[in-house]
């Protein structure tokens, strides 16, 4: 005769017994290091923040696409990445990234993109970046013609900005001399260096980072 597990009264003892039985029936999952990669997790499509370069509306795009339509103004937005590896005069409008290689020279025209990696030269024209400008060693650009939200000075790059610059977030892995106003965070990484004048809301200097400047770090001032 099998032993019945039915209980007449639900008290704390019966609850503990029930939990113990449940734990025996469903053993704990194996530790993470023994699990197959990706097991137990849901694979989510990559998310990308798109800013419409026609109306400025921001929206999120899930997954990868070569183009999309603005949810607000219905403009067709190119999302492909571009490479400029020669002299360039023309228009690029993309929600992706533009990479100007060391041989690339932007002579004139318009470039509107989300991000740019600059290894070459921006001589003239109108460059507007919705998000980040990454400047690398050997690049040259004119502040008048280049507008970006965030700035990243890559490792090995030494950048001199002759005019007052304003960005949101600035990351320094290389060196920057400027009169800089940052409304977000300035991060000076271990080999990074900043000289000049700095006004920002948040400053983080990693051990090994250099800062030789007039500094104003104040949440109120920017």
């Amino acid at each position: 005769m099998s032993k019945s597990r039915k209980v007449d009264v639900v008290d704390s003892y019966a609850t503990i017994k029930a939990v113990a039985r449940a734990a025996d029936a469903h053993p704990a999952p194996p530790p993470a290091e023994l699990r197959a990669p990706g097991a137990g997790t849901t694979a989510l499509p990559p998310k990308k923040l798109i800013e419409c370069f026609e109306c400025g509306f921001k929206f999120q795009l899930h997954g990868r696409a070569a183009n999309t339509t603005c949810n607000k103004c219905r403009a067709v937005l190119d999302l492909t990445d571009h490479i400029v590896d020669q002299r360039w005069t023309g228009t690029i409008k993309t929600g992706g990234m533009v990479r100007v290689l060391p041989n690339g020279v932007v002579e004139s025209g318009t470039i509107i993109a989300n991000d740019m990696v600059l290894e070459g030269v921006i001589e003239s024209g109108n460059v507007r970046l919705m998000r980040r400008l990454e400047v690398r060693r050997g690049c040259r650009f004119s502040e008048k013609h280049t507008k970006a939200t965030d700035l990243l000075v890559a490792d090995g790059a030494t950048i001199v900005l002759t005019e007052p610059a304003e960005y949101r977030d600035v990351e320094l892995v290389g060196a920057l001399r400027a009169s800089l106003k940052a409304t977000g965070t300035v991060t000076i990484h271990a080999n990074g260096f900043f000289a000049g004048h700095l006004q920002t809301a948040h400053l983080t200097v990693e051990e090994g980072g250099g800062l030789s400047a007039d500094v104003q770090v104040d949440l109120v001032s920017p």
Partner: protein, 144 residues
């Protein structure tokens, strides 16, 4: 046995000092100091500390408020609660997000001189000897 992590001299939170403090060991200040601190050891400025005066120390860990210049032989560490109004000078610096700092900083751990002086009228960045091709084109690719 002496524990190097423990400060040798402690100015407690309810202590207020007017004058100069000189120490050959380490100092922790949680109280108020209206004057200078000269310390060959390390200095820890606690969260409740308020200092009006200059600091000359080996290393400084700042969590409180300083109105004055801080000179450290080795390093200055500013914690998120630090409020410094004055100039700082050290070999190494570490700053946490959240600090308030108004003043001049002279920290150059790698000894690399600041980038060359700006060239007036040339808002151009860095030198480049990049070759300039003639034709105008952009190669396009789609990330998959």
């Amino acid at each position: 046995m002496e524990n190097s992590a423990t400060p040798q001299s402690v100015i407690a939170a309810d202590v207020e000092i007017t004058g100069t403090i000189k120490s050959t060991g380490s100092v922790r200040i949680d109280g108020k100091l209206d004057g200078e601190l000269n310390c060959t050891g390390d200095a820890i400025i606690g969260k409740s500390a308020v200092i009006k005066g200059n600091l000359a120390v080996n290393t400084a860990t700042i969590e409180g408020t300083i109105n004055g210049n801080v000179t450290a032989k080795d390093r200055i560490e500013m914690k998120s609660s630090a409020r410094v109004t004055g100039d700082i000078r050290a070999k190494r610096l570490s700053v946490e997000d959240g600090v308030t700092f108004i003043g001049r900083s002279e920290v150059n751990p790698s000894g690399v001189p600041a980038a060359a002086s700006p060239i007036a009228g040339a808002p151009v960045v860095d030198d480049s000897d990049a070759d300039k091709a003639d034709a105008a084109s952009a190669r396009q690719f789609v990330r998959r």
